[in-house]
Symmetry: none
Subunit: 418 residues, 2 copies
C-alpha cells in the first residue's frame, strides 16, 4: 500500500488562529482511494521549515499533498521551498501566467504585478490550473515521492483536488480501499463497551474496530480495508453485524445519526405524543425533541419548572414531598412527570430534576445526581437516579441524552440495558 503525508502551510495555522480542516478533508479523499495516511504536518510561512518538511517526508512516503503558501504575497513561500527541496530553480511559466491573466480579465480587474510570482514553477515541475482563484497549484517529484501543492483556501483546494489532483493520484491506491462506518452508543462507559466487543477490537483485525468518546457518546469506528470496494462493503457490513450482536440495542445509530434524530423517527412512527417537565436542563430536552422538522406531530408543550415553587404550582408536586425528600429525588421526578402528563394530555411525559452544579451538591447527592421519571399511560411510572460526571454543561447534556435514551427504550418496549 502506498503511503501519503499531508502538509499544511501557514502562520495562521501554527499560531492556532485558524483550525486546519484541509488535512482532514484530504485524508478522507486519500483513504477512499485506498492510500495509507502516515500522518499530517503543519509548518509556518518559513521557507526553510517548509523545505525541510518536504525533504524529510519525501524520503519516507510515496505521496505528499501540500496546501497553502502559494498566494501572491511575500509570506507565501511554498513555491520557493519546493524548488529548494527539489534542488532546482524557479522559472517563469508562460502558460501559467496567461491563465492568471485570464482569471483577472474574467473578474474585470487589472492583474497586480505581484501576482506574476505565482507563475513561477520549479524546473521539472508542472503547474496545475486553479478554477476559482489566482494561485496555480504545482506537481513535482523528489525520488519516489510525488508532490502536489494546492491552495490553502479550502474552496480552491477542494476544486483543484476534484478537477486535477484526484485523477493523477487515483492509480496510487492500487485498488485497495478503506471504507469507514461509525456506530453510536450512549449510556455505558467506553471500557464497558470495549469489554463487550472483546476480540472485535483486536488491533490486527480487518475491518478494525476502535472506540472514541465525544460528549458522552461512545462510538465504534469501523474501518474496512480491502482490494475492492465491493469486498470492503461486505466486510464492513459483517463487522457492523458483529458489533450489533455484541451490543444490541445499545447502538442507537450510525454515522450522522444522532439521538434526537433517532428518537424523532421513533416518535413519528409510534403516533404517540410526549411532554416534558424540566428542572436542571431548563428546556434542553424540549429543544432536543424539536430538533427535527415535523416534531409538532408528537410534541405540543413542555414545562420548565426551575424553582421549587414552580414545580408545586405548575406540576402539582406536593410541597411536603419536596420539603421531606428534596427536589432532586425520584418521588419528585415521578410527581413532575405525572403532573406534566396530566396537564398536557400527552401519551408520555418525561421529567428531569438534578444537580447540574457547580454548587448545590451534598455528600448524599453530589453534583451530577439527576433523577428522571417517565410517565406513560396507566403503567407504573418508571424512575431512576443517574450520576453524571463533569461540569454543568456536561451534566445537562448527559441528562438530555439519557432522557432521550429512556424514551427510546420505552418506545422499543425494552428495559434499559444498563
Amino acid at each position: 500500500v502506498k503511503r501519503a503525508v499531508i502538509l499544511s502551510v501557514g502562520d495562521e495555522l501554527v499560531l492556532g488562529q485558524t483550525v486546519d480542516t484541509n488535512s482532514a478533508w484530504l485524508s478522507q479523499q486519500l483513504a477512499a482511494l485506498g492510500l495509507d495516511i502516515a500522518g499530517h504536518m503543519t509548518v509556518g510561512d518559513d521557507q526553510n521549515a517548509i523545505a525541510g518538511a518536504i525533504t524529510q517526508v519525501a524520503q519516507e512516503v510515496d505521496l505528499l499533498l501540500i496546501s497553502g503558501g502559494i498566494g501572491p504575497t511575500e509570506d507565501d513561500l511554498t513555491r520557493q521551498a519546493l524548488a529548494q527541496a527539489m534542488g532546482v530553480e524557479l522559472r517563469p511559466d508562460e502558460a501559467c501566467l496567461s491563465e492568471i491573466r485570464a482569471y483577472f480579465s474574467r473578474i474585470n480587474r487589472p492583474m497586480p504585478v505581484r501576482n506574476e510570482v505565482q507563475a513561477l514553477v520549479p524546473a521539472g515541475a508542472t503547474h496545475i490550473p486553479n478554477s476559482c482563484g489566482t494561485a496555480p497549484g504545482l506537481a513535482g517529484q523528489i525520488g519516489g515521492c510525488r508532490i502536489f501543492v494546492m491552495p490553502g483556501v479550502p474552496k480552491e483546494m477542494f476544486a483543484m483536488w476534484r478537477l486535477s489532483v484526484a485523477a493523477q493520484v487515483e492509480d496510487m491506491g492500487g485498488g485497495s480501499v478503506i471504507l469507514s462506518r461509525t456506530l453510536h452508543t450512549f449510556g455505558m462507559g467506553e471500557s464497558a463497551v470495549a469489554e463487550r466487543l472483546g476480540t472485535l477490537m483486536d488491533r490486527s483485525r480487518n475491518p478494525s474496530v476502535g472506540t472514541t468518546v465525544a460528549a458522552g457518546v461512545v462510538s465504534l469506528r469501523l474501518n474496512a480495508r480491502a482490494g475492492a470496494r465491493s469486498l470492503a462493503e461486505i466486510e464492513l457490513q459483517a463487522t457492523d453485524n458483529a458489533c450489533r450482536a455484541a451490543l444490541g440495542d445499545l447502538i442507537y445509530g450510525s454515522d450522522a445519526e444522532t439521538l434526537p434524530k433517532v428518537v424523532h423517527r421513533q416518535l413519528l412512527t409510534s403516533g404517540l405524543t410526549v411532554a416534558t417537565a424540566e428542572s436542571c436542563t431548563a428546556g434542553l430536552l424540549g429543544a432536543a425533541l424539536t430538533d427535527q422538522p415535523g416534531a409538532s406531530a408528537y410534541f405540543q408543550q413542555g414545562y420548565t419548572t426551575y424553582s421549587n415553587a414552580a414545580k408545586v404550582k405548575v406540576l402539582g408536586v406536593p410541597e411536603s414531598m419536596i420539603a421531606a425528600l428534596g427536589a432532586v429525588s425520584e418521588p419528585v421526578a415521578v410527581a413532575m412527570a405525572e403532573g406534566a402528563a396530566q396537564a398536557s394530555g400527552a401519551s408520555m411525559a418525561l421529567s428531569i430534576t438534578g444537580i447540574a452544579g457547580p454548587d448545590g451538591g451534598s455528600a448524599q447527592k453530589p453534583v451530577g445526581t439527576v433523577c428522571m421519571a417517565l410517565a406513560a399511560g396507566r403503567s407504573k411510572t418508571f424512575s431512576r437516579t443517574f450520576h453524571f460526571p463533569g461540569d454543568r454543561d456536561m451534566v445537562r447534556d448527559r441528562s438530555v441524552k439519557m432522557a432521550l435514551t429512556l424514551i427510546r427504550f420505552q418506545l422499543l418496549g425494552r428495559p434499559l440495558p444498563f
Copy 2:
C-alpha cells in the same frame, strides 16, 4: 526563544474523520506565552509511528505537547510510545491508580479492569491528574526536550492544560510576544461592523484587527505583537478601546464571554426575574438563561408552547388572534409574553414564535421569520419581527441570541442599535 511542537495522536485524525482542534487551541496558549511554534504533527494509533515522531521532535525542539492516545483501550498507545522513545519501562503508579479509582467512585461505577492500564507511567516520567475524566496525563523528558501528554478529548485537555501544564511551561516563554483578544458583537452583519471599524482594519496596522463570523456572532480579533508582554498589553488595550469607541454597546463581551454569561451577570445585578414563552426554540432560551450557575436567582419557570392549543391554554393567547394573524405574528408574541409574565409573576417575560423551517414558510412569512416580544412591568410590551438566514438549527440559534440581546438592551436601558 524556546521552540515547541504539538503532536496529535489518533486514527480518526489521520483518516480525516475528526478535525483536529486541539493543536490550534494549544498553539494559541503557547503563542501567548511567547514560545515559537515550529509546527504541528499528527500520527495514527500506531506505537512505532508515535514513538518515531516523539524521538524526532525531541531532537529538534524544547517542548513537545502531545494530545490523544491515553484512553483505556487497546488502540491507545501514546503511553507505550513515550516509554519506547524514552527508552524506559512502563511502571504502575499507585497514586495515579487511586485517582482513577476515585474518579469511578465519584460517578458511582465500578472501575473496569481495563482502566488499570491508565495508571502505567514510564520510569522517570510523572503522571498529571485529570479533573474530568479517567485518563491521567504524563510529563517526561528526552534530552533537552520536555514532553507533556494530555487527553485527546478537548474538554479534558483544556482542563489539564489550565490546571497543570500551563504553569509548568510558563517559564519557557520570553521572546517576542503575540497577545490576542477577541471582541464579540451580535445583531449586525460583518460588513456593517467592518465599515464602522474603518481604518482600524488596515492590514499593516499593529495591533491588527480582523473580523470573523461564527454562529452569527461577528467577532473582532485583535493581535498585538511586541518585544515585551507589558508593551503588547498596553497596545492591545488601546486598540480594544478604539474598537469599543467605534461600536459601542454592540460589543457584548470579549474572549470566552458569551451572550448567556453576559446576560446572566446583568440579571444577577438587576435583581429582576425573567420568564420565557417559547415556541420554535422549544426551551433553548430557558436553557441559555440557566447556562450559568446561580440562575435560580432570576429564572423560576418557562413555558414551552409548541402547538397553538398550548399557546391558548397555557398562556391565554386568544384563539381568534391566532386564527386571524397566524401564530407567527407580533400580536401573538405580545400575548405570549404578557401571558407568561402574568402566570409566572416574573418582572420580565420574553416570547419567541417563529418559523424555523424547513417547512411552514410562505411568501409573506418565509422560513426564518421570528417574532419576539418583551413584557416588562407596566411599560408597553416591546415587539419586533426578525428574519434570520439559514437552516432550522441556525434560525433557532439566532433566535435565542437575539432574545438574549433584547434582554441585554432592556437591562442596559437603551434601544436596540440596529
